[in-house]
Amino acid sequence: MKRISLLLSLLVVCFVTAVQAQAPAPKPAPELKQLHILLGHWTYTCDYQAGPLGPASKATGEYTNQMILGGFFMKGQWMEKSASGELGGLEIYRYDPENKNFAFSGYENEGSTYSGTATVSGNTVTTTGKFFVGGKEYSSKATINYAADGMSATWKAEISADGKTWVPWFDQPMTKVKPAAKK
């Protein structure tokens, strides 16, 4: 009987090992390929409108997007200069299979954060989200229209202090400096 138990144990161990070996590693959702239009290195000029975040101003900046962590996420890093100094940030996009959209989280070098969701339809990315700055919460929405060749885009954003009244926030034409490296 002990021999049978031993044999059974060995079989169970082999089975568990086989199952573990065969368990397929998770793969990035195919929808993440929709984000590939954003990949690469971009330069931009940003025309900020006067609004709840301050007076009108202009900035120039650079924005780089790359897929990270096995292609499950897109990481964006940006840095811009304006008369008031340098502003930079880091953001991470992921696919949310439950809501069938993209979710993003962003962090800025003056402590503010932002988060929201994005959808991609053809060459247009539409985002809605929340922006937390100086202990206050704002709502934001934006549309990024990419040219057919994917080498330029226009980013238009609106902001609201109460989620009801929206005002233009910024208008940001962007140019891709070089194509994203092939993986």
Binding site: P97, Y107, E108, N109
Partner: protein
């Protein structure tokens, strides 16, 4: 004319100083976490859960301050029963809720978002973990030694917020602990 130029220079310096004084600075609560900066190693044992099979794991982590010190970023690599795993964590501080915010992104596509409080030497975290389209709730207690060089982490997992199961326990040791010896 020289007097006007001097007065103008003084005014400019005062204005720059005022603007610099108004520039936001990282909350001291976040600077409290700087003991985490640098390299450390960890090891532990996980229970079988919907997230993976039971088994021992070990890994290493490197943390640095980013974005003007307003956030910490940690990267980890790990070997576990399922193979290997790596990821990226961003830690911030929300002065409004007085909570630390922690978001971890792993190369299996999972995302864990936690809020944490610190009392004495113990962090208490609650959060949500999203993996392969399913949501889980997490509870973590992380108790650090008096010299802040190592900690014991105990975690629990729930699918509904009512029933909690042990998830994993681990010990994390910063390299500076070894350097002290």
């Amino acid at each position: 004319m020289q007097r006007i130029a001097l007065l103008f220079s003084v005014l400019v310096v005062c204005l720059v100083n005022t603007l610099q004084a108004q520039a936001p600075k990282p909350d001291p609560a976040l600077q409290k976490l700087h003991f985490l900066l640098g390299h450390g190693t960890y090891g532990g044992e996980a229970k079988a859960t919907p997230l993976g099979s039971a088994g021992k794991f070990s890994g290493e982590q490197t943390a640095q301050a980013i974005l003007g010190g307003f956030f910490l970023e940690a990267r980890w690599t790990e070997k576990n029963a399922g193979g290997a795993n790596r990821g990226l964590v961003v830690i911030g501080y929300d002065p409004a809720s007085k909570n630390y915010t922690i978001t971890a992104f792993a190369n299996d596509g999972s995302v864990e978002s936690d809020t944490s409080t610190l009392q004495g030497n113990t962090f208490t975290m609650t959060g949500k973990l999203s993996f392969e389209g399913k949501q889980y709730l997490t509870r973590v207690t992380e108790t650090w030694t008096a010299d802040w060089t190592s900690c014991i982490r105990k975690t629990e997992l729930s699918t509904d917020g009512n029933t909690w199961s042990p998830w994993y326990e681990s010990k994390f040791t910063l390299d500076k602990a070894a350097a002290k010896k």
